[in-house]
Amino acid sequence: MAQDNRGKNSTQPTRQMWFRTLFSFVILGLFLLAIIGHLFYIQVIQNEYWSTQAVSQQLNDIVVSPHRGTIYDRNGTVLAESMQVWTVIMAPSNIKQEETREKIADNVSKLLDIDRDELYEKTKRSESQYEKIASKLEYPIVEKLTKWIEDNELDNTGIFRIVTDYKRTYPFGSLASTVIGFTGTDYYGLYGLEAEYNETLSGVAGRLVTAQNGVGGDMPVTLTYEKTVDAENGNNLVLSIDSNIQRIAEKYLEESVINNAVTNRGVSIVMNVKTGAILAMAVKGDFNLNDPWNVQDKSVLTTIAKLSGDAKNKALVEARQKQWVNKCVSEFYEPGSVFKIFTSCMALEEGVADTKTTTFYCPGYKEVEDSTIVCWRSWGHGEQHFPDIISNSCNPAFITLGLALGGERFYKYFVGFGFTEPTGIDTLSEAISNPGLYHGIDMSNVDVATSSIGQTFKITPIQMITAISAVANGGYLLEPYLVSEIKDDNGNIISTTNTIKKRQVVSTETTKQVTEMLAAAVNGGGSKNVYVAGYRVAGKSGTADKTETRLDGSNTVWGSFGTFAPADDPVIACLTIIDEPHSSNRYGSHVAGPVCQGILSEALPYLGVEPVYTAEELASLSTTTPNVTGKEVSTANTIIANNDLDVHILGNGKTVLEQVPESGHSIPRGGTVVLFTDEESVGTIVTVPKFIGMTLSQANTTASKYHLNIDVTGIGLESGTATCVRQNWQEGARLEMGSVIQLTFATQDSIA
């Protein structure tokens, strides 16, 4: 300062000013150094932390759904498959203007058929990057949406993302629904095979990692990044189910469930007795696989509609869950007289009776210790041999056999036939039996007595058909299965299900004898409701009182029928159980017999089992209609007569203009061919009368009166008391004169 010679009044900047300047800037410099230090810390020391954080937001990690495996039936028909669909995701955080929000809400809601206000609310979630606005969209809709997005120049805004996904579809709706089961919204199997084989079907999800900018859009080409981990597609299942047999079984079962006013559903199972393969497993009422959450049973819906509030919701949930349950494997029932098949096997195997010499006397009841057990025929069956007691389904006789065996031996075979263990069928929720459901080895004589006629214990339908199959195949208890093969995405076989023989329960000789007696009872005996022309069917009906008290106090039953055919070399077994029929005749032979009969009559020829007709059967067999169209009426008459057919001529023409049935049509011998000889007569229509309830002769008379042809199935040809239980064209239907109507006959004899 002493050197400051620029003078006291100088305008020159002073040295002090310079020092103070330096002082200020050194302080600013210190701040700068501190900030540079912080910068170094963030940028160099914490580099890894911040880059990781940054990269995690700059990368878009998309889960690539694997293709869920297809479920095929044994013929390769698709029962369940995943189709590509699209999901639309919106990032409201990228919507800048209210105008855009309105536009999206108005238009996109219309395009996607979703609620406008709900969508508008979503567009206002300005912090959200992920709002799913629609899923499972099919291509045409997605195409329209994409076009709309482009037209409105929203395609580079990161507002919409459309990602591919899969949708599970079931081409046949309700077919085998309780067996196949369904998946939840995330394609996780919830019921049936979809659940049991979820891991096999679902595959492994893949990933697609791409670089994205701050609004979820694409990074420029120079900064793109893409890493793909391919999804591993799920494996395919090939079922043992044959969709044709399944359809046949469901058709007949549904008919019985409706006609007999069944309130607790019915089941029909068809099993290959040699392999354990389940060919059909039907439950009615079931549900639509494509719409599993809706209750299908109309009467249940009517009942629910009358409720309100919580009771209504509860009832709806219960009804929903009930329709999903595979009754064939998950519910217990009491078999009644069908079980006499096994009591017979035990008695013959242990030698307590034989088929020829042993006689039984039935006074109409049987006293066991303090109890009296009545026969269904109160006046008794009198003196009988073994085949008679099966045909008569005689309770006292079977109780006699049971008591002769004793509890210990009875229990041994009860276990042997698999009634105490799960069958091991490969589907979810097979009900596991427990000692509370049956009598143990130390059972009392009364227990033995009731058990030997199939009462006071419970089993599952799948246990029953597995045991019936054991009788049919010579005594071997098999493990039933639904999935015969697992194939990978490319069709290579990964695993094949082999037949598992668990054990031989009784000797082949014993089963042959029992089969013969069962077949005899079908052929004109007490089991004739399952008679199928051309095939020797073995079978036994059963009716069991439900012991549970019902609210309305009514007495309800399980009516069931167990069959297998052909008796000489059994191929399939078929079991039908009707739970709580409310028809006037609730016996198993009436409610379940015609179902088995119908299934066997179609399934056996379908499976290529050659019919073997008796002479009587042959006589009543069908013949083929000749071609007489265009011929002279007199010539036509002769030709038709030569084919064992009658003729009915309409009109006054000289030549035949049209004939019904047409040429090559199969109708029973003795049927009528209607000839139309002039224009006026062509296409004469008749109204179908009611055949149900008629005997065969009544039906024949009626048919010829109406100039219709009938094709008779079931018994009827050999039983005067059988009446028509089913006609394929309902009363009131309008058909061309001469058309063929199929009638099914069954007896009304009450055989328990």
């Binding site: 900047p13 800037f25 940028q43 954080q53 120079t222």
Partner: protein, 383 residues
């Protein structure tokens, strides 16, 4: 006082224009900063411009025009003899105060009254003008009253003048502008020889008041929360911490040498308005710590050049003007870098020469022009 005739006679300009002695180094440093700044602006803005304006060149085109206008203003100012500002200093200040009041009546954008909307220059920030007005006014006062600067009366007069503009700026509210104004003013007053005990007291009182408002009253609580725990706040409320966290992501991704020029990922719509306050984050990401330091060194060259001009200036008026302009650039650099590195709570302030904006760039280059003018009449060296 300001109208003492003996002092005024020394400050009388000899003429209106003075065009000798063009400062080539100053020009080199300014040009370097301007060119590098424009390059960085293009790199950081194109993705944002393409997305929001449908034109990658939207910001760079406008900024180039602003730079050219700015350079013309700079040359014009450089040949004006700076002594004429003695006449305009008080008027400039008056206009600034008027505009700062006027801006409060302007329609607010999200509760902030910071811009006056003009047809040609778009948005004009009166606080930009106020900075220059304070520099001229204080240079004017200090140069004429250097002797009496130390007395209490001068302290209150100058502090009142500074307080008015700072007060008007803070109620906009424009915190960074206030800090910048206060910083320039205090440094100039300190260098000009203001009463130091009073100044110390005043600064201490200011710090105490800020601490009281922030920590006791909970003013600016959200901003402070983000500052202290950016990632924690980000997890709770993305929007609130978004700017700061995105900036840290960008800077932290850079490492020592950066991702390479043009390769910033964060500028792709993660960083909000990367062409403005957070342009330095993009520089850090693309050029790394090395590039970030180079930019700072460029600024330091200019600052040292500015200080050298202040040191060699022909008179106190020129020296104080040069000091004020240099201090402004330095403080603005500090504030911007401190904000983007989260060294201080977030307040919006641009990086001189780099950030997009017409008013600030033209004003800045105009001030540099005044610096040239001071440099023209400065001595070659000081003994």
């Amino acid at each position: 006082m300001a109208n003492e005739p003996s002092q005024l006679s020394h400050a009388k300009p000899s003429k209106i224009f003075y065009a000798k002695n063009f400062d080539k180094f100053l020009f080199l440093f300014v040009l370097l900063l301007l060119v590098v700044g424009l390059m960085c602006l293009f790199s950081s803005s194109h993705a944002y411009a393409n997305y929001y304006e449908n034109d990658s060149y939207f910001y760079i085109k406008k900024q180039l025009v602003f730079a050219l206008i700015g350079l013309l203003v700079m040359f014009a100012a450089s040949i004006v003899d700076y002594h004429i500002y003695h006449k305009f200093a008080a008027m400039f200040y008056g206009v600034s105060v008027f505009l700062l009041v006027l801006v409060l009546a302007m329609p607010s954008s999200t509760g902030v009254h910071r811009w006056i909307y003009l047809p040609v220059i778009n948005n004009f920030q009166p606080s930009e003008l106020a900075k220059f007005a304070i520099i001229l006014l204080f240079a004017h006062i200090i140069s004429l009253n250097y002797k009496s600067m130390g007395n209490t009366k001068m302290f209150f007069i100058t502090m009142a003048l500074l307080g008015v503009v700072c007060g008007l700026t803070i109620i906009e509210p424009h915190l960074s502008g206030t800090i910048l104004l206060a910083g320039i003013g205090i440094i100039m007053l300190f260098v000009g020889g203001i009463n130091r005990p009073l100044l110390g007291l005043c600064i201490a009182a200011g710090i105490a008041a800020v601490a009281f408002l922030v920590f006791v009253k909970g003013y600016e609580h959200d901003r402070i929360e983000v500052w202290l725990d950016p990632m924690g706040t980000f997890a709770k409320d993305r929007d609130q911490a978004w700017q700061t966290v995105q900036s840290l992501f960008a800077i932290g991704s850079g490492g020592i040498v950066g991702l390479g020029i043009g390769n910033s990922r964060q500028k792709h719509l993660f960083l909000p308005e990367p062409q403005n306050d957070f342009i330095y984050s993009v520089i850090c990401e693309e050029l790394g710590f090395v590039g970030a330091l180079i930019v700072i060194v460029l600024f330091l060259c200019l600052i040292i050049k500015g200080l050298s001009i202040a040191r060699r200036a022909n008179d106190k008026f020129g020296s104080m003007i040069a000091l004020g302009i240099t201090a402004q650039i330095f403080i603005q650099l500090l504030l911007n870098i401190a904000v983007v590195t989260n060294s201080m709570p977030n307040t919006g302030i641009g990086l001189p020469f780099f950030s997009y904006g017409g008013t600030s760039l033209i004003m800045l280059l105009g001030e540099i022009g005044v610096l040239f003018s001071v440099s023209r009449q400065a001595k070659k060296r000081v003994k």
